[in-house]
Symmetry: C2
């Protein structure tokens, strides 16, 4: 059952990533926690780069699956992909494990441009089925940027954000269309 082995490797690698960070993600560290040997690992992933790519792809798939789930359950077609993105990024309960994985993945992408590119591809793939994104709508972009900023703040604890502030931010984001109007008023 080679496929099972593969996913076991990937799941374990993500677990290691969550616990020890990207520097702790070594081939040996994965092998230690797994029911088979280093040879098996290197059989399925010929080198560490391949493993890392596998991990990113695995995370990317989960990410996209979550977005798709939110997307299809959204009754309104217009802008649903953006809304699903926002919910995925900011609404999900943030466990310590999520934070660790987020940090590690961010670090990995920051270190290795190839991984960043790969993650970007997942982001793009998840940005589908939405006329606003297709049109490159300004407001959807802004909402995404704000959500990304909030996500990063969550990862690093940059700003201390109160629950009320967070709720306000979330509702503003979900409203989602107001910023361009605002711009026109100011201009």
């Amino acid at each position: 059952m080679p496929e099972a082995t593969r996913t076991e490797i990937l799941d374990t690698a993500i677990e290691v990533l969550a616990e020890k960070g990207p520097l702790g993600l070594t081939l040996d560290a994965v092998v230690e926690r797994v029911s088979f040997s280093k040879g098996a690992l290197l059989h399925h992933f010929p080198n560490k780069t391949a493993l890392l790519e596998g991990v990113i792809d695995s995370l990317g798939e989960s990410f996209m699956a979550q977005i798709e789930a939110y997307t299809v359950q959204d009754p309104q077609a217009y802008g649903r992909s953006a809304r699903a993105y926002l919910r995925t990024v900011i609404d999900e309960p943030v466990t310590q494990r999520d934070v660790s994985i987020g940090r590690a993945a961010l670090a990995a992408c920051a270190i290795d441009p190839a991984l960043a590119q790969r993650w970007k591809a997942w982001m793009k793939k998840a940005r589908y089925d939405d006329p606003r994104d297709a049109a490159g709508a300004d407001d959807a972009l802004m909402m995404r940027l704000l959500a990304d900023g909030l996500w990063m703040s969550d990862l690093f604890g940059t700003y201390e954000i109160s629950p009320e502030q967070r709720r306000a931010l979330a509702s503003l984001l979900m409203a989602g269309t107001a910023l361009p109007e605002l711009m026109e008023q100011k201009a």
Copy 2:
């Protein structure tokens, strides 16, 4: 002239960081480019952690100096620290070197919580002299989050943002006070 040696080490380390990323920043790599030996490096920075902290502090000082410069030249007191932050993060011409350093610093902070904490301290220190920040104003926070999201997008090239979109974003950010009104309308 021990102080000069110290700053030479730090500058060189940042240079290495920009060129080879955080994984390329080894003690030997710094020593190679410097007029003295490894012993000297270890004399000024007893271990690698100390060197990394020094690098973060050095970057933090530059960052804060830039913000202070923008702050004092801003005629309007109200909200100047937030505006200075925005300008520093989004207005500056982004060279490839800036991107590399940003990536590397981000990675370093994502990997090592202690460094993240240290950077956070610099951020806090730069967030001074502003009644809105003191009051934890929602709009200033939102502008910062959006700017952070844009900064990250610049680092990774996540979104393709046209010059017009960028200009629009910048002006919206500088306007900076409208979002709370908007929230009330929506609520």
